[in-house]
């Protein structure tokens, strides 16, 4: 097996995904640590050539452009098939992917086809006793696990959003060579189109203050408390996914990887644990206040002010204090 580190670049409309750049930075770092060579891989149709050209400007040993009609549009079967051929042929040591919805969908299929070790959602790595050890969140981010691959062969790793900084990406002095290879892998679904998941009437991305409510609110009737606080603060109401899934608020108010991305001046999180899929949607907030009864809730790690307590007691008190402050 070689010591190449491959980074598969997700792209749309001829441009790499934001998280693909983070993965390249991670791959360059991994190549330094392991003494390997970082190479980018672009799978797609003719339109993806622009992505390969852009990647050639980064410090990489090579850019592999795996092209074919069956992969002109993403399907899990097409992508997994095309990459399985490429990995089998050249046996890289590690293949990195951004942990996007697309990667999560097809990378396990590639792992299954290759019988390869799969490390989903890694946040960091370390070389220890000659082994690469990866860290990944488990149990909704309440704990972090260290894992390592067993046995021989390529290791497939998807990298969590924000775990590596794209601004660390090193540019090349000389463009990397682009190696073109063709694939006969075929699509395994007929894509009919893309649509908005919910009618968007509230644009939370512009809201200066947001009160966000999570499963900890307990039941829909308790939203009254949240509404009162939001009113006192002049805030919009947002929510974590379970609140939306339960039908307590409209889907357009969901904040997170599947919902809206917000960056208010003040974000008040009530009964929200702080799972990564929620946090990616609100971590750009200027000041975060978290109220949660569990002192170990991951939300406290990213909050500026924290209150451990029952939101049913703390929220009415806070509403009263805000009203008083605004009146005075």
């Amino acid at each position: 097996m070689g010591n190449a580190i491959w980074i598969v670049l997700e792209h749309r409309q001829g441009k790499p995904h934001r998280m693909a750049l983070e993965a390249v930075a991670a791959g360059q770092e991994l190549a330094r640590v392991t003494g390997g060579t970082a190479e980018a891989v672009v799978v797609g149709g003719a339109e993806a050539r622009a992505v390969a050209d852009q990647a050639a400007g980064w410090q990489l040993g090579a850019v592999r452009f795996v092209a074919g009609e069956g992969v002109a549009h993403y399907t899990p079967g097409g992508y997994a098939g095309a990459l399985a051929e490429a990995v089998e042929a050249d046996r890289p040591a590690v293949v990195l992917f951004p942990h996007t919805y697309q990667s999560v969908e097809y990378v396990p299929r590639l792992a299954q086809a290759l019988g390869a070790a799969l490390v989903p959602e890694a946040v960091s790595f370390e070389q220890r006793d000659g082994r690469l050890v990866w860290r990944r969140p488990v149990l909704g981010g309440k704990l972090v696990a260290e894992v390592a691959a067993r046995g021989e062969g390529p290791v497939l790793v998807t990298l969590q959003s924000g775990a590596f900084a794209a601004d660390q990406l090193a540019a090349a002095a000389e463009p990397a060579p682009i190696l073109e290879q063709s694939t006969t892998a075929a699509a395994d679904r007929e894509v009919l189109g893309v649509e908005e998941a919910a009618e968007q009437q509230v644009d939370l991305s512009q809201a200066p203050v947001i009160v966000a409510v999570g499963r900890g609110v307990g039941k829909q009737e308790n939203l009254v408390l949240v509404r009162e606080l939001a009113e006192a603060l002049g805030a919009e109401i947002g929510a974590s996914r379970p609140v939306i899934d339960s039908g307590w608020l409209e889907r357009e108010r969901q904040i997170g990887s599947s919902g809206q991305t917000v960056a208010p001046r003040l974000y008040v999180a009530l009964g929200i644990s702080g799972a990564i899929q929620h946090v990616v949607g609100m971590k750009g907030s200027q000041v975060v206040v978290a109220i949660n009864k569990d002192p170990g809730a991951p939300i406290f790690a990213i909050a500026d002010y924290g209150v451990v307590g029952d939101l049913h007691e703390v929220v009415p008190a806070l509403t009263a204090a805000v009203r008083e402050a605004k009146a005075g």
């Binding site: 799969l118 704990l143 039908g247 703390v314």
Partner: protein, 264 residues
């Protein structure tokens, strides 16, 4: 239409967690377990599809003895039978090993659809359903928010969640594996009658040999991923924590938001 549903039993997300003495996983003693949230939605979707087509739902779960309770719950809301892979040789696997064992059990019967959850709340691989699909050689879709049968049950129109509030619509040929996302439906509760009937329903527990799996092909022995340890994350700087009576906390918080953070 015959539908297999994979349900995993996981620690209640509300539970306080402790790390086990050996540091390799959490302490499961006195820990409350529930059906993985996404799997409740998968089960409900399967029951609706089966009801609409006059079919049958069979639930599959891999895990120790305690998992029986989760299977009873699934039977109580309407699954016809259950298969429990509980042999020691099945346990402790990564997504590859677990998916292979579940696929082996599913392969023994003829199904039109396999539904799983999109992700488990404990391991969180988001992979097991896809591995099952790979093992069976069937197409699959992850993060499914809508399923519509088409063409007399030969294909499905699938709505799949994408990032930032978009959905992809696609057509997938059957048989297929669909990994259901929370929020696709509103899961039903078990009725008293359902709970009584569940007691009489069959829970089969085939061993690895019956599924054609040899030692080393399943469970911890077959895992390509080794779990070294788990720990509470380092909290970094973390938040300024406010303590005291609710009214005092509230006043202090407002004061700091005004003076220190200057956001009020």
């Amino acid at each position: 239409m015959r539908i297999a549903v994979c349900v995993k039993q996981v620690p209640d997300t509300e539970a306080r967690l402790r790390v086990r003495k050996d540091g390799q996983w959490i302490d499961e003693e006195d820990l409350p377990f529930v059906i993985n949230e996404n799997d409740e939605y998968a089960l409900e979707e399967a029951l609706r599809l089966a009801e609409a087509t006059g079919g049958e739902v069979v639930v599959f779960s891999l895990g120790p003895e305690r998992v029986r309770e989760a299977l009873r719950k699934a039977l109580a809301v309407g699954a016809a039978r259950a298969v429990h892979l509980k042999d020691e040789a099945f346990l402790g696997g990564d997504a590859l090993a677990t998916g292979r064992a579940l696929a082996a059990a599913i392969r023994g019967e003829s199904f039109d659809l396999v539904l799983t959850g999109s992700q488990s709340d404990d391991a969180g691989y988001g992979a097991t359903g896809t591995i099952i699909a790979g093992e069976l050689g069937w197409p699959h879709a992850w993060l499914v928010m809508g399923v519509e049968l088409e063409d007399g049950g030969k294909s499905v129109k699938v709505t799949r969640e994408m990032e930032s509030g978009l959905n992809e619509l696609s057509r997938i040929g059957l048989p297929a594996v669909l990994q259901i996302q929370a929020g696709i439906n509103h899961p039903r509760y078990a009725s008293l009658k359902g709970i009584m009937q569940a007691k009489k329903k069959e829970i089969a527990s085939p061993g690895p040999a019956e599924l054609g799996l040899e030692a080393g092909q399943t469970g911890a022995a077959a895992s390509r991923l080794e779990l070294l340890n788990v720990a509470f994350p380092e909290s970094g700087e973390g938040a300024q924590m406010l303590e005291g009576e609710p009214a005092a906390i509230a006043a202090e918080l407002v004061a700091r938001l005004q003076r220190e953070a200057k956001v009020l």
